[in-house]
């Protein structure tokens, strides 16, 4: 899939492109279609995996019952030797644990993917990512404050994302300021982000250790986790990601122009400064919503946009949407890998992602620079 040329070559004029089906399949949106189908299949299959082994028949039955139960009567446990209590417990686990977990994974992955794509676009830098720029750690720190200081604990599900957003903006604000300095370069910008990331991780650990209840898992916040996801959380993350992610996706055209440099973009009608601040705010928000319920999962936002660009080309209108799909695949896939390879141990979802992500990060660092030469920061 990676070797596919981004666009038809000049020799293949559109008039001669074989069939309509072919054309659609080769169009950027057409290339995203397999990814969307892949995500759907992966999502359904992931519901069969979990801490407790549940007969596949029961899982399938439960899913079908919830999907089509209103039209066709379906009894998930018919034809099995399970008692009605067991059946009920299994169904409950699937519907209230596994399905929300997978859906939360999809949403968190989409959030991190779109956020990474938007950040790479605004910073004109293939290494930008909510995790590396410190947004995720900032968000996690902000969210953790709620538990430690018992702030708005009654309504934690709603206040969590807001505190996380505030934390992300603390970190993001510093990076934005660093980026505005005339001496900023790709390196200083990324290193500022790395510094912020470490700083807020340290603060996060401090607050978690200080927490008198001791009911917060350090590993959940530092490496992410989907276990314990509820439908309520899914609804909150869904609304946040849908709204902010959709607005972000509308910045595709502006991001395309920003790739030419801020001055050129501005001469073509893009308010570079305003776009940057808004995209940074939206990316921070989307990241914060994800981190508030799933902790810090690194590298999703870094890798997803690269995969989409390989598959569907450079147009940010496609890349933003595509990165959400690929990000979702990554997080759900990461959850499945953790469950498949480390059964019985609760391996945080961020661990398999970090294994893959760290290697990919090295590849990005050491690959040959493109014909455009070194990126010049903003």
């Amino acid at each position: 899939m990676t070797g596919v040329p981004a666009e038809p070559r000049p020799s293949e004029t559109p008039e001669r492109a074989s069939t309509t089906v072919h054309r659609i399949a080769r169009s950027p949106l057409g290339r995203l279609a397999p990814l969307v189908i892949g995500l759907f299949v992966l999502g359904v299959l992931s519901c069969f995996l979990g801490d407790v082994a549940i007969p596949a028949r029961v899982v399938l039955g439960t899913l079908l019952e919830h999907a089509f139960g209103a039209i066709v009567p379906i009894s998930p446990c018919a034809g099995t030797t399970l008692s009605s209590t067991e059946c009920y417990v299994y169904q409950t686990i699937v519907w209230t644990n596994y399905v929300p977990e997978v859906l939360l994974g999809v949403l968190v992955g989409a959030a991190l993917g779109v956020s990474g794509a938007a950040l790479q676009g605004t910073f004109r830098n293939p290494l930008a990512d909510p995790f590396l720029l410190g947004l995720s750690s900032g968000a996690a720190f902000g969210a953790s404050l709620i538990f430690v200081f018992h702030l708005g604990i009654q309504d934690a599900q709603w206040t969590l994302p807001l505190f996380a957003f505030a934390g992300a903006m603390l970190s993001g604000g510093v990076v934005l300021l660093a980026a505005r300095s005339p001496r900023s370069s790709v390196t200083t910008l990324l290193l500022t982000g790395v510094a912020m990331s470490s700083f807020f991780s340290a603060l996060l650990i401090l607050t978690l250790l200080y927490n008198p209840n001791g009911n917060l898992q350090v590993s959940f916040w530092l490496l992410g986790g989907l276990e314990g996801a509820t439908w309520n959380q899914v609804a909150i993350v869904f609304s946040g990601v849908l709204v902010a992610g959709s607005i972000l996706a509308l910045y595709g055209r502006a991001l395309n122009l920003l790739q030419l440099g801020s001055d050129v973009a501005q001469s073509l009608g893009v308010d570079a400064r305003q776009t940057r601040i808004r995209v940074m705010l939206l990316a921070s928000f989307v990241t914060a919503v994800a981190v508030a319920f799933a902790g810090v999962i690194g590298f999703v936002g870094l890798i997803a946009p690269h995969v989409v660009r390989r598959v569907a080309g450079y147009d940010y209108r496609i890349v933003l949407t595509g990165a959400a799909v690929v990000g979702a695949i990554f997080v759900v896939g990461s959850r499945d890998l953790a469950l498949l390879f480390f059964p019985g141990i609760e391996v945080p979802v961020g661990v398999p992602m970090a294994f893959v992500g760290a290697l990919f990060f090295l590849y990005l660092l050491y690959r040959r620079p493109g014909p455009a030469g070194e990126g010049s920061g903003w």
Binding site: A6, E7, P8, R9, P10, T13, R124, L250, R253, A254, N256, L257, Q259, L260, G261, D263, V264, Q266, S267, L268, G269, V270, D271, R309, Y314, D315, R317, G370, P371, A372, G373, G375, S376
Partner: protein, 434 residues
């Protein structure tokens, strides 16, 4: 220039930079529809700064820029982009964007926020790409085209932007000579055919003189000159602003001025043979010496000439080739000053060539003055036209010619022989320093 259509762009006493270090100081400038203005000046004179300030990319410290009558400050970024298009010196696209998409970027300011380009936008992008002759390459990536083609793509994008004002920053800086001429030619045609105006920062003064309606010279952030090329270009300006000595010449075909910098003798590239050959003094007038001057100059001889009538073909040729010559007002007897200058040049010459020029009473002195020199220097009389046909002195010229021939001068019927004979004479008579 003062009256006429309203200015598209009006720069009024604009200063840019920091108070203690202004990059542009109180520059005023009006540009009207159809005008091609070359903005020039030494490095650091403030050309780019001024362009960027006009575009709104740099804050203006004092003064005011008006675009189509509206203050720049009252226009938002989209409105500015609808009125002004910019061609930067170079661009570093991050992705291998298809040329058609790259040109489509120019439509951004015309598409409402969060909408996509419609068929009209595509049509304009197509037209623009056709106008720069790159339609066949529309599906190529921007990384795959040459430097000249890339500048054409940028021009197409600016055309698609459909702005009446086009600002260019050294658009030809990285181009070879053919691409330079091609790009500038397109810009000039664009100006002539539409009511747009072009302001281009250009380093190359001769390119600027050749193509622009007006040259604006900036020097240390100030406006030093503003006017048509024939008024602006002068050796004094070059010395004052660029600190370069130059000769001002006129292109014999277009009559436009151009400048040739005078280089210190030690940096001018010469071969040992060229240094040995010359100076050769050529006597002529009325166009009889032009071919000889060109041929010998082409062979690398150092030349002098005299006495030539001002404004005639020979003196123009000498001027064009940079040959020092003694000159006299046409149709007047050779004056004492001109003859003295001619003798001085003869004195310095190591060989003499007499072109078959028409001899009348007014220029007979040209022959008379040779008598003192033919014996001591190899001298060649070109006799391609018979003397009787060009002697308007009732035989007096003939007598002097016979005197010269007996004094050592050599008559040559064939001008093709001249160079070989000269080389032979000069290399033999002068001991080789090696």
């Amino acid at each position: 220039m003062v009256n006429g259509p309203a200015a598209l762009l009006s720069v009024d006493r604009v200063s840019v930079g920091y108070t203690d270090r202004l990059a542009v100081r109180s520059v005023s400038l009006d540009v009207r529809p159809g005008e091609f203005v070359a903005l020039t000046g030494p490095n650091g004179a403030g050309k780019t700064t001024l362009l960027r300030a006009i575009l709104g990319l740099l804050p203006i410290r004092e003064g005011e820029v008006r675009v189509l009558g509206t203050r720049l400050a009252d226009l938002d970024i989209r409105q500015r982009a609808q009125r002004m298009a910019w061609l930067p010196q170079e661009e570093h696209p991050q992705d291998n964007v298809r040329l058609l998409d790259y040109v489509l970027f120019g439509r951004y300011a015309h598409v409402p926020p969060f909408y996509s380009e419609n068929t009209d936008d595509y049509a304009r992008a197509r037209d623009a790409l056709r106008a720069v002759g790159l339609w066949d390459r529309r599906a190529s990536g921007i990384w795959e085209v040459s430097g000249g083609e890339r500048q054409r793509v940028l021009l197409a994008r600016a055309l698609a932007q459909d702005a009446p004002i086009l600002l260019l920053d050294e658009p030809t800086a990285h181009l070879d000579i053919a691409s330079q001429l091609e790009l500038i030619g397109r810009l000039v045609r664009l100006c002539r055919e539409s009511s747009r105006c072009v302001i281009a920062a250009l380093h190359d003064l001769n390119l600027a003189a050749r193509f622009s309606d007006r040259i604006v010279v900036l020097s240390r952030g100030r406006l030093a000159q503003d006017g048509p090329p024939e008024d602006v270009l002068s050796t004094g300006l070059l010395r004052e602003v660029w600190d370069v000595d130059a000769e001002l010449r006129r292109d014999p075909r277009s009559g436009l001025p151009y400048l040739i910098p005078v280089l210190p003798r030690e940096v001018v590239r010469t071969t040992p043979a060229e240094r040995r050959l010359g100076p050769v003094h050529v006597v002529g007038g009325g166009g009889a010496a032009s071919d000889t001057l060109r041929t010998l100059a082409g062979h690398g001889y150092r030349l002098t000439a005299g006495v030539l009538p001002l404004f005639d073909t020979d003196s123009e040729t000498a001027a064009e080739l940079g040959i020092p010559a003694a000159l006299e007002v046409p149709f007047a007897p050779l004056g004492l000053e001109a003859r003295a200058e001619n003798r001085r040049l003869l004195e310095g010459a190591r060989a003499i060539v007499v072109a078959p020029f028409a001899i009348g009473p007014s220029n007979l002195a040209n022959l008379e003055d040779l008598r003192a020199f033919v014996a001591t220097r190899p001298s060649f009389l070109l006799r391609t036209a018979s003397l009787s046909e060009r002697d308007f002195t009732e035989g007096r010229a003939g007598a002097i010619v016979r005197e010269l021939l007996s004094g050592g001068a050599i008559a040559l019927e064939e001008p093709a022989q001249l160079e070989a004979r000269l080389r032979e004479a000069l290399t033999k008579s002068v001991p080789d320093p090696a």
